[in-house]
Structure formats: structure tokens, C-alpha cells
């Protein structure tokens, strides 16, 4: 229950901000908001010892039990890691942005979106129900969209926001399809129950399609090749946002999903190949492209892409462990990869968060983050330099920083592919480590670029907007906490392993014995191949860095017009044009045409169904006798309907329409449906009043100009719709294809405490529908209101039907 409140708390605060922001000073909102992640971090941390003892916490709140959709929160080792990252990095980022963003910005919007994101992200990692997870997943995309476009007056911000949204949401929809396939296989939406039915899932025909759909969701979110293109453009967001969403948390949602799904899909050949190959390509492509960037933030974006690829490929290799029976010698070799993925996930958040904040500081204090203008900042910003140094060295995999540990283990994991005797890996067992090693060389190169191009070299004050100086103390707190963690984790990795990583391993490999698969992390393994690989990275990295200008022409091979960005642009413009052309074809502004579409489809589908299923059956034997006065009312209604066709003025039409309505209401009374009659009468009156007020704006009715053929066509449609409805009315009494639902409502007094069954249905049995209808009604009302107000402003002409 506490975890559930933890998910809801950010949303509550986000809702509160608009209410309170007028009463507190703008620069204080951030401090007010900061309390949320700190409190949540403390709450989640309080579970660490219990989770480390192997407990898990589950709490279910029934949401729509009849559809199997429940809001179940599940706290285990894996969600614990993410929960701590989200709230921990969240606290630091909010603290940092209190100093970073000027009080002139729309801070209440900013923090509102940020809290929305935090709640959504917590929802993703704590949900056990995949549909609830999906909802939160899309909510993170939406809040990321709002945050990227925070400076929405800039065109690049809007374009970046849209790109991120389009790519991640389409992936999300694919993922939803995957979840629905899993539901079709197992009949459950709960991840824990899915894990329990692994055998059924792996045997099923839908296994591969579901796998691919879910991976699409994970790859788009985690910016894997070739969907990585949105991440560099997302750097238009304010730097705290980039540090939080686009390096530490949101982009790791895909990693989370893959880790969470490993017990279900792990061991499958497709799963292993897709994740490993995509991960390694992303790793290489990201680091290769990072080297050529001139913008520090873009460089970090590509580096994030590359690091995400690294974690992804580790999860791929780690899934081999599930491909064969547990073996004391062989299994730990591959579970080490999964372990390293989780370990590096934490490490990456610490050093990359610090680096992003460092870039933010440089940008904030100097006015640029362009590497061609920066240089020689060391004497002016020694504290900032130390952040950059520690962060970059950790990323490059140098001791004594945490990146060294996970990088060594990464090499070990990649080399372990040679010992795999499943999936016919063959020569790929050599190629994958080689590519991974090359990627690490480039990683080393861009880490050197970050340090040397920014802080060494000559200082050019004329190229900078502002005199270089250290930032206010407050901006340094957050990055210093992060780099302190970088160092601490290096010296005491096994504390982290015991409390955080071991329980998470239990979530990723629930079937394997936990003691056997958690390694002891140490920083000296003797002179082995991994150490020489690291040394090779350093030597070749330095050579490449020194000779960069001799080989950087290779980047000219990739022309902008051949890139994935160009493909994205092409897809977007083509679909936009295409859909516009298509829409213009049928949405031509003629109401007659719209009604024609609606009626033809109605007759086609409903009538077609009745004809095909042979459900038309007319049996008058049970019908009551028709009284004379009933016939009279029928005649009145019919006459009014026919007269309506020939009416020459709107007033007559309104009047005749009223006659039909009151006639129908009369039937409701006769057939003892007082609720319906009341509603019909009042609706009829209000509609007439509405007509009266809008009457004077409507143009006179013009005689319809239509060819004889058109009139015939319209006539046929009208008659067929009318007769179809009549037939349905006659048939429905004897319809037996479905069971009547009336028995659900029979005990309305006992079940809902009301004697009026109509209201018991509206307010209780089907209250969900009513609630949504109320919302729809409200939105429609606002729509009408805004349309009219906008029309007022734009001076549109008086047209009803073009």
C-alpha cells in the first residue's frame, strides 16, 4: 500500500502545483517539489534490508476486476533499483534545477511535468499488470514530450519533442500489441502469472510475434539502433531534464522491460540474437558518432545511446543462461552478463548524471557548450573540472572508478560467448567481442574529448558569452554527490551487490539458485585477457585521439541525406501528405456526404450481420394487441416525419421534429417507462430551446439542388435505414444469440440499494460508463465553448453546410 501511495504522490503534487503556485513565490516552488522525491527515496530505501533478505511486497487494488485489470504494485529487487534511481536522481536533479533555471521561467509548468514524469516512471517499474504498465509507459512519453518542448518558442525544441513522441509512442503501441498477444496465450495480464506460465508461452505460435512487438517497445524507448535518432534531438530540453529523463531514467525503461521479460522470453534464440546484435550495433554506432559531435550535449546523447546498447547487449548474453538446464559450471558464466547489466545500469546513472550536470554548469556559466569555442577552462573552474574528470574516466572504464569494474566484467561477459554451445553462435563469438572492444576505444576517445577540449588548450574569452567562473555552490552539490558515489562504488562494490543487485538478480533469474549466480566483485583478477583489452583500449584510444584530424574524414561517408533522420523525415512528410489527401477526399464539408457514409456503413454492417446470421425472425404470436389510440399516435408521428421532408422553413422543421419527439415520449408513458419518457420530454424541450436561440444565425433553407440520380440514391439509403431499424425492432424480441443481461439487474435493491432499476444501472452497475459519459459530455461542452469563442475572434462566415 505504501508503494501505491508512492506512485500516486507525485501525481497528487503535480495536481497541487497549479493550485498553490499563485500563493508562493516562483523561486520557491522547486524547494516545495524537492520534498517529494526525497520522501519517496527514504520510503523506498527503508525497504532495502527487507528486500535484501529475499522478501517481495505485493499489493493489489482491484481496478476493473471483471476485465482482469488491477492496479497491482510489486516491489522486488529489480523494481527497487529503478525506484531508487528515479527518486534518488530525481531529488538531485530537482535540487540542481533550482539553481539552474531562472525564476523567470514558467517553473510551475516545469515542475508539474517533472512530477508527472516521476509518477509515471514509478508506475512503470512498480506495476505488475502489463496494461497498467503500458498506460504509465505512454504517460512517460507524454511528459517527456512536454519537457523537451519546455522552451516551445524554439522550433528545434518542438521538432525534437515531436520526434521523441512519434518514435516512442509507436514503439509503445507495438508493445501493447505484444502484451495483448501474451494475454491471448495465457489469459492473464499479470507479469508474475506470465512468468509462471513460461512453458505455455514458449510453445505457442504467437511467441515470436509477441517477442518482437515487445522488443520494439523496449528498443524505441531505450533509443536502440535504428530508433536512436530521437535521443540527440531530445537534447533541446533543459539540461536537468536531459540528465534525468534522457540518461538516468526514462531511456532505461526499455532496459527495465527487457530485464523484466527475461524470465519469460529468456532462453529463446530470437530473443538472444535480437537483443545482443542490436545492442552491440547501438554500442558501436553511438560511440563512433559521439566522437564527431561538436556540441557537448549531443556528444553525451550519443554516448548515452552507446551505453544503453552496452547494457542491452549484456542482457542479451545474459539470457543464454536460461537456454539450458542449470549447470554449476556453465550457468554463472552467462548470468554474470545479466549481473553486469544491472551493475552498469547503476554506474551509468551515476557518472552520466554527473556529466550532464557538468555540461549544464559549463553552458550556464560560460554561455556555450560548443567544443570549438570552449577550451582552457581548468584554471577558472577547477571544481567543475574534477566532476568532468571523474565522470569521464568512469565512463572510459579507468580505475579507481566504478566504470572500470563494470567495463572489465563487460569484456568478460562478451568473451564468454565463446563458451556458449547453444544457438550455433560460431564466428559471431569472435566478432561481437571485437566490435564491443572497438566501441570501447571510441568511448575512450570521446571521454578524452570531453576533458581535454573543454578544460585544456587555450582559453579564448572572446569566443565565450560570459567570463568563465565557478557556478554557485548549490549547483555543485548534486554532481558532487554523484561523483562521490562513482568512487565509493569502486571501493565498496560488494555492499551494493549484497543489498541491491542480489535481490534484483532474483527477479531476472527467478528459477536459478541465487547463491550460485551472484559473483563477488573485485578489482584485481590477475593479468588476464580483460585487463589487456582495457590496456589496449587506452593505448589505441590515445593514438586515435591524437591523430583524430587525420582519420575524421571517415565521417563524411555518411551523408545527411542517407541517414536514418532523412528516412524519418521522409516517412513523416509522406504520411502527412497522404493522409491529408485522403482526408480531403471524403471530408469535403457536405453534411449529406457524411450522413451517407454513416448510413451505408450502418446498413452494411448491422444489416449484413442480421442477414448472414439468419437472425431475422418475426413471430407475432407473443405480441400484445395494438390499441386504436396507439395506432393514432403512430399515424401522427408518421405524418410529421413525412411532412418534415416538405417543410419550407426551419421553424416548421423544428416544430415537426418536436411532434415526433413528443409522440415517442407518449409511447414511453404508455409502455410504463416513466424514466425514459421524462428524459425524452425534457431533452425535447431543451433541444427546442437550443434551436430557438441559434435560430437567428442559421441561413434560410434553400431548395436542395440535386440530380434525380442523387435523389434516388438518397431515397434508397433513407428507406433502407428505416426498414432496417424496423426489422431490428421486430426481430429483437425473438433474438436468441446472446443471453439476456437483465438477470444481472434483478436484485438491484439488494446489490445497489436502489429500487429504481434504471438508476441503479446508471449509477452503480454500469457506473463506469456513466462516469466516462460525464467526462465526454464535459469535454464536448468545452469544445463547443472554445469553438464559438475562437470563431468569434476569427470572424468566420455564417455557414452551416458549406
Amino acid at each position: 500500500m505504501i508503494i501505491k501511495l508512492a506512485v500516486l504522490l507525485p501525481f497528487l503534487m503535480a495536481a497541487l502545483i497549479p493550485l498553490v503556485h499563485k500563493h508562493i513565490k516562483r523561486e520557491h516552488i522547486g524547494w516545495f517539489v524537492l520534498a517529494v522525491p526525497i520522501v519517496l527515496f527514504i520510503i523506498i530505501s527503508s525497504f532495502i534490508p527487507k528486500i535484501a533478505d529475499g522478501n517481495t511486497y505485493i499489493h493489489t487494488l482491484e481496478w476493473i476486476p471483471s476485465l482482469g485489470i488491477n492496479f497491482t504494485t510489486y516491489l522486488d529487487g529489480l523494481s527497487m533499483i529503478f525506484g531508487l534511481l528515479i527518486t534518488g536522481v530525481g531529488s538531485l536533479v530537482i535540487l540542481y534545477s533550482n539553481f539552474y533555471l531562472s525564476a523567470k521561467e514558467l517553473l510551475h509548468h516545469f515542475y508539474c511535468y517533472l512530477l508527472l514524469f516521476m509518477g509515471a516512471m514509478l508506475g512503470v517499474v512498480f506495476s505488475d499488470n502489463v496494461l497498467v504498465l503500458y498506460t504509465f509507459w505512454e504517460l512517460t512519453s507524454v511528459s517527456s514530450f512536454l519537457l523537451i518542448a519546455f522552451w516551445h518558442h524554439r522550433k528545434a525544441s518542438r521538432a525534437g519533442a515531436r520526434k521523441a513522441m512519434v518514435i516512442t509512442v509507436s514503439g509503445g503501441v507495438a508493445m501493447l500489441v505484444g502484451f495483448l498477444m501474451l494475454y491471448a496465450i495465457t489469459g492473464t495480464f499479470s507479469i508474475r502469472e506470465l512468468v509462471a506460465q513460461v512453458d505455455t508461452i514458449q510453445q505457442h505460435d504467437l511467441f515470436i510475434p509477441a517477442l518482437i512487438c515487445i522488443l520494439l517497445g523496449a528498443f524505441t524507448k531505450s533509443a536502440q539502433f535504428p530508433f536512436h535518432i530521437w535521443l540527440p534531438d531530445a537534447m533541446e530540453a533543459p539540461t536537468p531534464v536531459s540528465a534525468y529523463l534522457h540518461s538516468a531514467t526514462m531511456v532505461k525503461a526499455g532496459i527495465y522491460l527487457v530485464a523484466r521479460m527475461t524470465p519469460i522470453f529468456g532462453g529463446a534464440e530470437t530473443w538472444f540474437w535480437t537483443i545482443t546484435v542490436v545492442g552491440v550495433i547501438t554500442l558501436f554506432w553511438g560511440s563512433f558518432n559521439a566522437v564527431r559531435q561538436n556540441d557537448l550535449k549531443a556528444l553525451l546523447a550519443y554516448s548515452t545511446i552507446s551505453q544503453l546498447g552496452l547494457i542491452m547487449s549484456l542482457l542479451g548474453v545474459g539470457s543464454i543462461a536460461l537456454a539450458f538446464e542449470f549447470d554449476e559450471a556453465a550457468t554463472p558464466i552467462f548470468t554474470l552478463a545479466g549481473f553486469t547489466a544491472l551493475f552498469h545500469l547503476i554506474n551509468h546513472s551515476t557518472f552520466k548524471g554527473a556529466l550532464f550536470m557538468m555540461v549544464g554548469i559549463v553552458d550556464h556559466e560560460v554561455g556555450t557548450r560548443d567544443l570549438r569555442r570552449l577550451g582552457g577552462l581548468l584554471p577558472f573552474m577547477p571544481l567543475t573540472f574534477s566532476i568532468a574528470l571523474i565522470g569521464s574516466f568512469a565512463m572510459a572504464g579507468l580505475p579507481p572508478f566504478n566504470g572500470f569494474l563494470s567495463k572489465e566484467m563487460f569484456f568478460t561477459a562478451m568473451l564468454s560467448l565463446q563458451e556458449a554451445n547453444v544457438f550455433s553462435i560460431g564466428s559471431m563469438a569472435t566478432w561481437i567481442p571485437v566490435v564491443a572492444w572497438l566501441a570501447s576505444v571510441f568511448t575512450f576517445v570521446y571521454c578524452m574529448i570531453i576533458i581535454f577540449k573543454t578544460f585544456f588548450g587555450t582559453y579564448h574569452p572572446e569566443r565565450l558569452d560570459k567570463e568563465a567562473h565557478e557556478p554557485p555552490f548549490g549547483m555543485l552539490i548534486s554532481p558532487f554527490i554523484l561523483v562521490a558515489l562513482v568512487v565509493l562504488i569502486f571501493f565498496f562494490p560488494n555492499v551494493l551487490v549484497h543489498y541491491i543487485l542480489t535481490p534484483a538478480m532474483a527477479s531476472v533469474y527467478p528459477t536459478l539458485p541465487l547463491q550460485e549466480i551472484t559473483p563477488y566483485v573485485s578489482w584485481w583478477h590477475g593479468f588476464n585477457l580483460e585487463l589487456f583489452m582495457t590496456l589496449g583500449v587506452i593505448v589505441l584510444g590515445i593514438i586515435l585521439y591524437k591523430t583524430k584530424r587525420y582519420w575524421s574524414y571517415v565521417y563524411t561517408f555518411i551523408q545527411p541525406r542517407n541517414s536514418f533522420n532523412a528516412l524519418y523525415e521522409w516517412v513523416i512528410t509522406t504520411t502527412e501528405d497522404g493522409s491529408q489527401r485522403l482526408t480531403n477526399k471524403y471530408m469535403n464539408g457536405y453534411l449529406v456526404h457524411y450522413f451517407t457514409y454513416i448510413y451505408i456503413i450502418f446498413v452494411g454492417i448491422i444489416g449484413g450481420y442480421f442477414v448472414l446470421s439468419g437472425a431475422f425472425r418475426f413471430d407475432p404470436s407473443n405480441d400484445a394487441t395494438v390499441e386504436t389510440f396507439e395506432l393514432m399516435v403512430v399515424c401522427i408521428v408518421a405524418i410529421a416525419a413525412v411532412a418534415l421532408l416538405f417543410s419550407k422553413s426551419r421553424l416548421t422543421s423544428v416544430f415537426l421534429n418536436g411532434v415526433i419527439g413528443y409522440g415517442v415520449a407518449f409511447f414511453f408513458i404508455v409502455f410504463r417507462a416513466p424514466d425514459l419518457a421524462l428524459t425524452q420530454l425534457v431533452v425535447e424541450s431543451v433541444t427546442t430551446a437550443l434551436f430557438l436561440v441559434s435560430f437567428k444565425y442559421l441561413p434560410d433553407i434553400k431548395p436542395e439542388i440535386a440530380s434525380a440520380a442523387q435523389k434516388w440514391r438518397n431515397g434508397i439509403i433513407a428507406v433502407s435505414v428505416g426498414s432496417l431499424v424496423t426489422f431490428i425492432g421486430l426481430t429483437i424480441i425473438n433474438y436468441e444469440k446472446f443471453e439476456p443481461i437483465s438477470r444481472y439487474f434483478e436484485d438491484s435493491y439488494e446489490l445497489a440499494g436502489g429500487k429504481n432499476i434504471v438508476n441503479a444501472i446508471l449509477g452503480d452497475f454500469r457506473a463506469f460508463d456513466t462516469m466516462l459519459e460525464v467526462v465526454v459530455l464535459f469535454i464536448a461542452g468545452l469544445g463547443v465553448y472554445t469553438l464559438i469563442k475562437l470563431r468569434n475572434r476569427k470572424e468566420a462566415s455564417d455557414v452551416e453546410d458549406k
Binding site: 481496478w63 425534457v682 436561440v693 444565425y697 436502489g754 429500487k755 429504481n756 449509477g763 460525464v774
Partner: protein
């Protein structure tokens, strides 16, 4: 629009109260007899519309100084709030409960959470209907 509508105005003055009372009655009667939130709200809205037809917008806003958009918003919040509220008591979303209470003056009264939900529905209906009709008309008045 200057039309002599003394008769209409005089009649409306009396009738509006009857309609408003009927609306309230229908709203509360809905539980066990014909009526309910939707129909009660609609009747209330029709009273406002009638007032509007007989008088003009300024008079209505003087006598009923609500922003009807906000009325609708409060209604939606009430309806969704009742739904969410059940979650706090650890029962499925949108569960309703009821009970008999002994209240002063009213004697034994049947109170239910459905009534709050229905009040939300009624307020939304009143708010939306009046907003639509007023905004259509305001636009033409200029």
C-alpha cells in the same frame, strides 16, 4: 431585441420555482422512483434556459453568479472523485456503499454514495447545457 413580453416574464417568475423544485425532487427521488442525476440536471438546466429566454444574460448572471463552466468541472470532479474515493477504502474502483442513518429533522434517512456520484452527473449536465446555450447566444448578441 425589444419585445413586450410581460406575460412571459410574469409566468416565468412563478414557473421557474416549480421547475427548480421539480428538478431537485427528481434528483433525490431517483433512487427508488423515476428521476435521477441526469434527468434532474436536465430539468434544472431547462429552468435556467427558460429564465434566459424570458430575460437576458445580464439578469441571469446577476441572480446566479456562477461560471457554468466551473459548475460542469465541479460535477466531473465529483463523479470521478467518488469513483476514485472508493479506492481509498481498499475496494474496487467505483464501488458504492449505502446505509440507513438517523438524522435530526429528517428521521431515518437512506444515504448512499451513489447520490454524490449522481450529484456530479447533475452538475455536469447543468453546467454543460447552460454553457453551450449561453455561449451560442452570447456570440450572436455582439
Amino acid at each position: 431585441m425589444k419585445i413586450n413580453d410581460v406575460i412571459l416574464r410574469t409566468v416565468v417568475k412563478g414557473v421557474v420555482f416549480i421547475i427548480l423544485t421539480l428538478g431537485m425532487y427528481l434528483f433525490f427521488a431517483g433512487h427508488n422512483a423515476p428521476g435521477g442525476g441526469f434527468i434532474g440536471g436536465l430539468v434544472l438546466a431547462s429552468a435556467v434556459v427558460l429564465l434566459y429566454l424570458a430575460y437576458d444574460i445580464e439578469t441571469i448572471q446577476k441572480t446566479m453568479p456562477f461560471d457554468f463552466k466551473k459548475v460542469a468541472a465541479v460535477g466531473v470532479l465529483l463523479a470521478t472523485g467518488t469513483a476514485l474515493g472508493s479506492v481509498l477504502f481498499d475496494v474496487p474502483f467505483l464501488s458504492h456503499t449505502d446505509g440507513y442513518f438517523d438524522l435530526p429533522l429528517l428521521g431515518e434517512t437512506h444515504l448512499t454514495t451513489v447520490t454524490i456520484f449522481e450529484a456530479g452527473v447533475a452538475l455536469t449536465v447543468v453546467g454543460v447545457v447552460v454553457t453551450i446555450i449561453l455561449s451560442i447566444n452570447e456570440e450572436g448578441g455582439e
